[in-house]
Amino acid sequence: MNTEKRTKGLLLKGGRIVDPATGRDEVADLLIEAGRVKDVGKLSAAVDSDRCEMIDVTGLVVAPGLIDMHVHLREPGREDEETIESGSHAAVKGGLTAVVPMANTNPPTDDQTAVRFVRERGREVGLTRILPVAAVTKQQEGKELTEIAELVDAGAVAISDDGVPVRSAELMRRALEYAKMFGIPVISHAEDPDLSADGQMHEGLVSTSLGLHGIPAAAEESMVSRDLILARLTGSHVHIAHVSAKGSVELIRGAKAQGVRVTAETAPHYCTLTDESIAETFDTNLKVNPPLRTQEDVQAVIKGLVDGTLDVIASDHAPHSIAEKEVEFPAAPCGMIGMETMLGIVLTKLVHGGHLSLSQALARLSLGPASALGIEGGTLEPGSPAHLTIIDLGKEWVVDPSTFASKSRNCPFTGWRLTGLPMLTIVDGRVVYTSPDREARGQRAKARASAKNR
């Protein structure tokens, strides 16, 4: 991979520029210089082709770089399941120009050294941007606050004990107050651990027939409710991770109407899969926390995305080894991978499926997470950083985990036919990923050009 600093500009010619931040949706050229968007418009004639590399993106969508604000990269600790390197490859293949790994590594990302390690490894790999979340409490034990000022100084973009909830309301209150000084959100893994104890799947008709111990939606809703109340009390920004339940969507909608500083996220599987899929199959790739819920919940989550109650779609990419998943259902760990399928699922089921406009979908995948984290991104306006995702909206493909860049295979979407795939991923003005289809096309074009020249 080319790591030298780009001196030449890069012109993306003839793409459909979709910018959810400004509402722009038009065919135009986009010029990148020095890692930033320089200009958008009819530029081909004005640009000096010697000083500028040109890529023809006719027929493709040029979108602000997608940001996945909820992933697990497992390094350090479970490098057999994923590493920052393999996760970075998976990310750029999924069109993700930044990913936000959670702190539940082993050891947890709860001190400066750990945060610096994750950032450094990300930079060394040099594909997508790795923006770590640090733990709220030391060892994620829910007892003592981490050194939040220093964690932010080391490069943490948010704090969260994701994987486990902060059980103590008092500690959560203090974390929210303290984090407010640095303008970072506290990300809430909203789960009442007493209500969810021993739970294997959503508590509903399917858990009743399967005899599996259920996790009631109330386990999520009650904790969402608590954290919204604490956000109101402190005036701090809380971000609710992986919303799965109808009741949570309604609580967040109400809190937003009251002016509480809350952003919220859901994942592709909560918009597409229900607990029914577990019946008969006992497929452990469908075991996830929070659990897949009912059709009614799926509809409420989609509605939340449509009206903006849910700001963000993030994958909650959670790699697990085949050995750990190839077991009886109650013995399997929770989690599914998703970085390489997120865009395809969102485009196929939510955009082509008629729920979200393309601009809305891209907002939930770029502008939404950028705003929730208070970082640059989510727009193509001149001056903004040149993180871009170039998408073929009509590209049909079949999900096949054996082709994934991720080290893990615990994907619930195996065999799904999707429409829409990233073709190019650009970070800091540099092309960090080109899809194999695109490469083949480039080679054919080159061959044609050289044949013509002879």
Binding site: L205, S207, T208, G211, L212, E280, E328, A331
Partner: protein, 319 residues
């Protein structure tokens, strides 16, 4: 049986639960169980039907009656049997459940009977193994041969299942016996009522087609059969009901309570019984108790299941 156009064989590799068994399939098993029962009454309790077949009983949870019952059922049909029991879960042992099962299958066995604390463990193995898998109880999910033997017992004493009024009392939430009975009985046209403290009733139980009540005295009045479930002592410790004493007084089946019952109300229990808690000894051992009949029929019904899954047909020749 051919003349009546009934199904003659099970078009399935495994018996995992009663939820998806058809009425015809249940009838086939029950009829065959009835004809097999007679073998156990003979002085020489053995027929050569499954000679050369191998049945492995793989029990990951302690069991006395089910393990013995499957073993005897297989032996009376002349199958070779081995019993592998381990109370520790596969994860603790270090070898995965799948590895254990694949190793046993590699010894060329025909039927794997499995009991496991994990719901879906038999389904997990069935989808990955070529051998037939019989679920001998998976966690709180299903225990299909128990459901079948219970139905066989009710059929024997009541003549038909259609319209039969059955009351299930106790911890339905954690009971695989209750689930298998509900699916099977509903499929056969019985009317099932559940009586339990609401903390031991799973979400939306009525959607399985049963009536739910909490007053045992009223519930007993018009029933033909009452099936009493075992109350597990750890449920009280985890706070699902206040005390065993209160449970016994509120949901225990005793002679006093049965005074309100119809003449001839039959008493069933899947065992093992907590005497004096969910069922009083004088009722358990009383004239209307079918508890030991259930155990006897267990062998017969398991013979039928083993026979059908090994490729046998419903209309048997005389042995």
């Amino acid at each position: 049986m051919n003349a009546r156009g009934k199904v003659q064989r099970l078009q399935r590799k495994d018996l995992l639960g009663l939820e998806y068994l058809s009425r015809d399939e249940i009838e086939l098993i029950l009829e065959l169980g009835k004809s097999f029962k007679e073998i156990s009454e003979r002085p020489i309790k053995k027929v050569p039907t499954l000679r050369g077949k191998t049945v492995v009983n793989l029990f990951f949870e302690p069991s006395t009656r089910t393990a013995a019952s499957f073993d005897l059922a297989a032996k009376r049909l002349s199958a070779d049997t081995i019993n592998v029991s381990s109370s520790s879960s596969s994860v603790i042992k270090g070898e995965t459940l799948l590895d254990t099962a694949r190793n046993i299958e590699a010894m060329k066995v025909d039927v794997l009977v499995i009991r496991h604390r994990a719901e879906g463990a038999p389904h997990f193995l069935a989808s990955r193994l070529g051998a037939s898998v019989i679920n001998a109880g998976d966690g709180c999910h299903e225990h299909p041969t128990q459901g079948l033997l219970d139905m066989m017992t009710m059929l024997e004493h009541c003549g038909q299942l259609d319209g039969l009024r059955v009351l299930i009392v106790g911890d339905v939430a954690h009971s695989r016996v209750a689930r298998s009975n509900i699916w099977g009985l509903k499929r056969m046209g019985a009317r099932v009522t559940v009586c339990a403290p609401l903390t031991l009733v799973p979400y939306g139980l009525e959607s399985m087609g049963v009536d739910l009540v909490t007053g045992l005295d009223q519930a007993i009045v018009d029933k033909d059969v009452i099936m009493v479930l075992r109350i597990q002592l750890e449920r009280q410790r985890s706070g699902l009901f206040p005390s065993l004493r209160e449970y016994a007084r509120t949901f225990g089946v005793n002679r006093e309570r049965l005074k309100r019952a119809k003449e001839g109300l039959l008493i069933m229990h899947p065992g093992p019984i907590n005497r004096g808690i969910e069922l009083d000894p004088d009722v358990a051992d009383g004239p209307y108790s079918l508890i030991l009949d259930q155990v006897t029929n267990g062998v017969a019904v398991r013979m039928a299941v083993l026979y059908l899954l090994s490729g046998g047909e419903g209309a048997r020749d005389e042995h």
